[in-house]
Every structure is written in C-alpha cells, then in structure tokens.
C-alpha cells in the first residue's frame, strides 16, 4: 500500500508543480492549467483515500519474506468465472448512447436495461 500512496502522491505533486510552472510560463493560459490542476487534485484524492481508508492494510505481497506456506489460509475472496451481465451492460450502454441521439425510446430501454443489470449484478455478487 505504501507503494500505491508513494506513486499517487508523487504524481499529484508533479501535477501541481507543473500546473504552477505552466500558469506562469504559458502567460496564464487557463485551459491547460485547469487540466493539470484537476489531474493533480484527483491523484491527491486517490493517495489521501488510500492513506485514510487503508492505513491498517497489511499485504502479504509487501513482505519480502512471506511464502505461500506462511500466508496460507488468507481469504482472497471469491473469483467468479462466469456472468451474463458484463456483455448485457455493454449492449445497454450502446443502446443508451445511440438512443440519446436518435431514439428516446431506445435510450430509456438502454437505461432501464442497465439499471436492471446492475440490480441483478448486485444480487449475483452477494451470492458469490
């Protein structure tokens, strides 16, 4: 987790520094400065979230002396092997986007299908 925080915090700091430099060098050009500043803020948020939410995380992969034997029994969760919902969600997304431009009915159908998929996906996740 330390690596995650370090990478994101460093990237955020780089974004912040380059945004300030860009503001002055590019004669106060607003678009690029805003893009860099938003990027830096998003990265800083991700790093801060990891620090706050995962501060007690102890990962087997971070310990160079861990072996599969010593880590045996750790719960990695359940990995599903099949689900019909990903392909259905993709189809509904396509229906939603094309419907927004050309057919409100198709857009509503796409949105409804998507919500239905997410609902059933939640149920499937709870089961597995």
């Amino acid at each position: 987790m330390r690596s995650f925080v370090a990478l994101f915090a460093f990237a955020a700091a780089f974004g912040a520094v380059i945004a300030v430099v860009y503001w002055f060098v590019a004669h106060e050009e607003a678009t690029g400065t805003a893009l860099l500043a938003v990027m830096a803020t998003a990265l800083a948020f991700a790093a801060a979230y990891a620090v706050v939410a995962e501060r007690d995380a102890r990962l087997e992969g971070d310990d160079p002396n861990q072996t599969p034997q010593t880590a045996a029994g750790d719960d990695l969760g359940i990995f599903t092997t099949n689900s019909p919902f990903p392909v259905l969600i993709a189809l509904c997304t396509l229906a939603l986007f094309t419907g927004l431009l050309w057919s409100p009915l198709l857009a509503v159908a796409g949105l409804a299908g998507m919500l239905l998929c997410f609902w059933r996906l939640g149920a499937e996740s709870a089961r597995t």
Partner: protein, 522 residues
C-alpha cells in the same frame, strides 16, 4: 460460445482482446493497403476524396484505439495476474464489461460505413470545427464519437482494475520491487490512462452535445473556442502515444532479458524511466499545436526534449542487458531488435519536430507520417508480433513455427522500412498528408511507388503470420511450461495455465522466481 460470451476469467478475456485487436488490425491493414494503392501513382482516380478521407480516418482510428492500445491492455489482462501470482484480476466482472464495451465500441466506429454519407472522415483527431463541417455532419461521425466514448470508458475501467490488482493482489513475497518490468510498465500505462482518458471522454461528450443538444463549447460564433477541443483532445492524445508504447517497452524488456540469458540491466532505472516518461508525457500535449500560435511553444518544446532523456535510459538498459549476454536470435528476439532499430528512428525524428522551427516546416507533411509510424508501427507493432511469438506457447500450449516466423520478421522489417523511409523525403519535398492525390513533381512518383511496394511486402508478411498460426496449431507440437527459459512467474505454471492460474504457488524470493533454486537447496 455462451461460455466465452459470459466468461470473467482474465485469461479468456485477454485472449478475446488479442483476437479482436488482431481482427481490427487486419481491417486497418486492408485500409492501409487501399491508401497506398491510391497513392501508388500521381493523380490517381482509384478512390475519390471522400472515400479517401473515410479510409485514412478509419485506418488511424482503428490502429490507435482498436489495435495498439487495446492489445497492450489485453496482453496485460492475460499476463499481469500470472506475473504477480494472483488467481485473477481484482474485479473480474468489471474486466469483462471493459472487453465488451471495447468490442462493441470498435464495431460502432466501423458501423458508420453503413450510414448515408459514410463513416467519419475528419481524421482520428476529429477536430472542431471540422467535425461540424460538411465532412462531419453525417451519422458516421456520431457513431465515431459514440464508439470511441465506449472504448474510452472501457480503457479507464480496465486500467483501474489492473492498478488495484497489482497493488493488492500480489502473491506472498512478490513485493513491488520484484514485479516484472512488463507489469511495471502496465502500472505506469494504467496511471496515464486514468489521468488522461477522462479528458478525451469529455471532449467527445462535448462534441456530441454541440452536435445534437445545442451546445457551443467550440463554436467561436457563440463565444466558444475551437482551440479548447484541441487542448482537451491532446491532453489525452500525447499521453496516449505513451499508452501506445509503454506496454511494448515492457514486452521488449522481457524478451531481451530472456534471450540474452541475463537479468534486466538497471531494473530500478528502467522503472523510474517509465514513470518519468509517463509524468513528462502529461506536460507536452500542446507540441501538437505549435502552429496554432495559441500555445506556449518554449514550454512544450522544452518538456518534449526532456522526454528523450528517460527514453535514452531505456535504450542504455536494453543494450546493457544484451551486453556480453548469451544472445539467442529466436523470432521474438528478432522482433525486439527490429523494435529497437525502428523506434530509434521514430524517437530521433520526434526530437527533431519537438523544435518549433522544424515543426512549422514539417507540420501536416509526410515527415510527420513517417515519424509516428516509426514509433507506433516500427516500434509497437514489432513488439506486438514479438509478444505473440513469445507468449503464444503460454496462451495456447503451441509454439509458432520458427522458420516461418523468421520470414515474417524479414518481410515485415523490409516492407516497413521500404514503406516509411521514403515518407521522410516526401515530407521534405512538401507532400501534404491527408490529401488523396499529388502532382507528378520532383521525386514524389518514385518515392510513392517504393512506399507502395513496401506496403505490399508488409501485407505478404502479415498474411504469412496468420499462415504460421494455422500451420503451428494444426501441427500442435506440445511445449513444456517454459519453452524459452523465461524467468518470470508465468513460466512456472502449465501452458496453457489452469483456472485460477497456479495449482501450487511457488515461493518468490527474487525478481527472477523461475530461476530461483528450489526451496531447501543450498
């Protein structure tokens, strides 16, 4: 069929990414052949201007969004969990959703061909206000935006998934400083995608709002700014260039180290260079906009020059890895060496056009076409073929034929250079890109004829590659777990790997776990 449609296994999803990107590659290759056929002779009438515009737009769009970038993502899908000793990616369903959004998005882009007015014809950049001019009024342009919006969402979702997988699902003992360089390059790529792709999604969403819902973001007549589109597009677009190359740096590193029988030279430097390239690539977007006169040329020029430094570090490391190694010139290694030679030309021409005075001369000429094809075609595409030859045995338990593979490499290397070396000279003679024909002046007819002959040779090379797959799969000579003497974790499981990847996870005590002495030995 249903099994593959509904699978959430990262290996099957990785294979489907590879198969779909190769399918798009064939289509984009056919389009490239049409472009070269049109340009084979001056004043050619084989294709009209509108057909030509659609063809080069779809060719560029497919190669960038549907082939090179997703192949890297797809390969990462297959390899990253294997390389870090994880049973799958962190979010398998999200992973499958990403795949299907990508496939449907790609088909949507090409669906424009079936609409009245044809497919998008405004280049892969689809600049405003061009995308609202007579070239971009059709439904094909809308399908272009919708399709690429879907592939962008797919890429962002998959990148988040890969990042979480690498940070949280490493096997016991697989510390961050032990993960293979390919996985490191994927971490850098995924971070770039998460930072840069939202900007593209925003640009395309704004373009759609402008086209259908009365928005005026880019319309100067209503107080909008067309340069805003270019900023949003290139804030994604230049990092995208590194999204197109960083995974391939990783592929080449693994191949070079395996076939030089040596550890990666300068592992830490290699990782830091990847992140330096990724970070700097976020500060160079407007070097594509030098000639607008609306950006700070000194700033973007300076940062663009700086990127050459970490890229140079990588070259030193690759050469250092080969230095005094016991080099085996197998097919993947040939492609890796081809990558190094071609990418070097792409990199050096990139440094040239990072200088605004040169860029003003070269902008929108065939010099630029040569430059980016040497990076993406000569670089990434050669690494792509190297990866296919290298990991095909792991994916399918079958090794591709070595003799045919050498011919594939020879034809592609010869054909590629015959096609693209002349383009630098065409650019210097003033030939403009994205124009469907040219006059018979200077050396342009000869240079174009050579380029078209080169494209023909490449076409034969690609066809031979698919023949190689057919021959090898039919022959089906079994391979062991590690046919190449590889050193990373994926070579310690069966070929192809079982469900959840490892029946027994080996102990990980170094960066080269496959070469560690067995536990308990002295």
């Amino acid at each position: 069929m249903i099994e593959w449609l509904t699978t959430t296994d990262h290996k099957k999803i990785g294979i489907m990414y590879v198969v779909s990107t190769l399918s798009f590659f064939v289509i984009a290759g056919v389009l490239a052949a049409l472009i070269r056929a049109q340009l084979a002779v001056p004043e050619n009438t084989l294709l009209g201007p509108h057909a030509y515009n659609q063809i080069f737009t779809l060719h560029g769009t497919a190669m960038i969004f549907l082939v090179i970038a997703p192949f890297g993502i797809g390969l990462a899908n297959y390899l990253v969990p294997l390389q870090i000793g994880a049973p799958d990616v962190a979010f398998p369903r999200l992973n499958a959703t990403g795949l299907w959004l990508f496939v449907l998005g790609g088909i949507t882009v090409f669906a424009g061909l079936a609409t009245y007015g044809g497919a998008a014809a405004t280049g892969w950049t689809a600049y405003a206000p061009l995308n609202e001019s007579f070239l971009g009024t059709g439904a094909g342009q809308d399908l272009f935006f919708i399709g690429l919006l879907m592939t962008s969402i797919s890429t962002i979702l998959t990148s988040i998934n890969l990042l979480v997988t690498v940070f949280l699902f490493r096997a016991p003992g697989m510390t961050m400083w032990r993960i293979p360089i390919f996985t490191w390059e994927i971490v850098a790529t995924a971070m770039l995608i998460v930072m840069a792709f939202p900007s593209l999604a925003a640009a395309f969403a704004m373009a759609l709002i402008e086209r259908h819902l009365g928005g005026h973001f880019f319309d100067a007549a209503y107080g909008g700014n067309p340069i805003l589109y270019q900023h949003l597009f290139w804030f994604f677009g230049h990092p995208e260039v590194y999204v197109l190359i960083l995974p391939y740096f990783g592929i080449v590193t693994e191949i070079v180290a395996t076939f030089s029988r040596k550890p990666v030279f300068g592992y830490v430097g290699m990782v830091l260079a990847a992140f330096a390239i990724a970070a700097l690539s976020l500060g160079v977007w407007a070097h594509h906009m030098f000639t607008t006169g609306a950006v700070s040329n000194p700033f973007f020029s300076a940062v663009s020059f700086l990127i050459a430094v970490p890229t140079g570090v990588k070259f030193v490391n690759w050469i250092g890895t080969m230095w005094k190694g016991s080099i085996a010139l197998r097919v993947p290694m040939l492609f890796a060496i081809g990558f190094l030679l071609n990418f070097l030309i792409g990199g050096i021409t990139g440094v040239m056009i990072a200088s605004p005075p040169i860029d003003y001369q070269a902008h929108d000429s065939y010099f630029i076409v040569q430059h980016f094809h040497y990076t993406i075609g000569g670089g990434s595409m050669f690494a792509l073929f190297g990866a296919l030859y290298f990991w095909f045995p792991k994916m399918f338990g079958v090794k591709l034929d070595e003799r045919i593979g050498r011919w594939v490499f020879a034809l592609l290397f010869l054909g590629f250079n015959a096609t693209f070396i002349p383009m630098g000279f065409m650019g210097m003679e003033g030939m403009a890109r994205r124009v469907y024909t040219y006059p018979a002046v200077g050396h342009l007819p000869l240079l174009n004829a050579i380029a078209t002959a080169g494209a023909l040779i490449m076409t034969v090379g690609v066809a031979l590659f698919f023949i190689d797959i057919l021959v090898s799969v039919r022959r089906r000579e079994p391979v062991g777990n590690d046919p190449w003497g590889g050193y990373t974790l994926e070579w310690m499981t069966t070929s192809p790997p079982p469900e959840f990847n490892f029946t027994t996870l080996p102990p990980i005590r170094s960066r080269r776990p496959a070469l560690d002495p067995p536990a308990g030995s002295a």
